[in-house]
Point group: C2
Chain length 248, copies 2
């Protein structure tokens, strides 16, 4: 089996949700941003931005939205932003039609670029001994995040990333077996037996882990979140369109 330090990091990722009370230095933050900048982007359009949330009041309000106190108590908080506004600015300077920036393709490109850069930040952080967790939960109220961070049309918050010095070392959380997520040439529908075996693995993991242990299989987890979603989150398409994305 191939191995090196980077592979070890990538194959031993665990999200960290308990951080020591220590802020990241400006130097470390700069290094994380360099990793984000260098990431591939769709057609070299670099359709993302990153906001460092440092204001205590903003952090508190974001923590309320995510419901996770570590949103405000981590060593640093980034919000990754899908960004077609910069391209629109260039189009407006040249007095050019900018309608293409609103279509589904460019919308996906901006979200992809933000996600790719965000994953580089996570990996870069972990390589320095930091821990991180991606906070999709900022989308519990996307409109409020837009208002708080003054996000103009053609920008959208994709996820937050809370980063800091880890104050826990959780066990690795078992992933779906490879045969359930990887196929040769053609998509394969899920296999009941594979899911049965994975249910048992996850049930054992939840029962044995040190904190927040519970009785839950993978199917339980998926079914629960299929039945309930925060109302504002299930209506996010309205906000996406208000911001000028997925218009056509």
């Amino acid at each position: 089996m191939e191995n090196n330090k980077t592979l070890h990091l990538l194959t031993h990722h665990r999200s960290i949700r308990h951080f020591k009370n220590q802020a990241l230095s400006a130097d470390v933050i700069h290094t994380l941003l360099e990793a984000a900048q260098r990431t591939s982007s769709s057609m070299f359009m670099q359709q993302f931005s990153v906001i460092s949330v440092t204001d205590a009041n903003l952090k508190k309000q974001l923590a309320d939205i995510t419901t996770y106190p570590f949103t405000k108590s981590s060593g640093h908080l980034f919000v990754m932003v899908a960004d077609q506004r910069r391209n629109e600015f260039i189009g407006q300077e040249a007095d050019t039609d900018t309608h293409l920036l609103h279509d589904g393709d460019r919308s996906l490109a901006a979200f992809d670029d933000a996600a790719l850069a965000g994953q580089s930040i996570v990996t870069a952080a972990e390589s320095m001994g930091l821990g991180a967790v991606i906070l999709g939960s900022i989308l519990n109220d996307a409109q409020q995040v837009i208002d708080l961070l003054h996000l103009p049309k053609l920008t959208f918050p994709v996820f937050g990333i809370a980063i800091g010095y880890p104050d826990e070392k959780p066990n690795l959380k078992p992933r779906l077996p490879l045969e359930a997520v990887h196929f040769d040439n053609y998509y394969q529908d899920p296999d009941k037996k594979t899911l049965d075996a994975y249910d048992q693995t996850i049930e054992k993991y939840y029962a044995q882990r040190g904190t927040n242990n519970r009785v839950e299989t993978y199917r339980h987890h998926i079914l629960h979140d299929m039945q309930v979603s925060p109302q504002k989150r299930s209506q996010i398409l309205i906000v996406l369109k208000q911001q000028g994305f997925f218009e056509n």
Copy 2:
């Protein structure tokens, strides 16, 4: 400045488009997939799948769609798939309402998960001395990719990744300066002077690079792609909705 091998990789990424005629071993492919599997996913729902395209005819057709011959001549070709079908399968087994899987929130989650895992694959590949390029261009004809790879409803091709042993070492392509993409607390609209300076940087880069050199600023590049888009690509929202995404 912080440094380690992983940071060096991340801050020296260049996309590779010329590969040696050498296929990746099964062992290397397995390692890349392990990196994908371990990546964070939205609410631990693992809403992505990966297809290894090995069939020569499929590769040829995908190369025609992307217009890049290296799509079929790289050492390996992955297609990252946004996948809510696995969750739908679990919902159908339990005879549960699955409508939430079609909303904008779950659609974005699936695309995010696929992009995050894809970026882990790129970083893992580069750590082994391989080169990679992300192929958003498979979306030049999303419907055909869906047909070719037998992608059912609630799945969607996000991008391809061509990987192989590099047969080039391009210069690092200059990125937008940090002040154009990173802000404290509040979004900042682009600054004309920053874009002017970056235009000059990019113009010099394109003029001096070894292959495919040309006279083009960053603004030229952005403006060109704002005015023309492959027709099927600019109508991708229709295909997204046909596949059951972004329904509400």
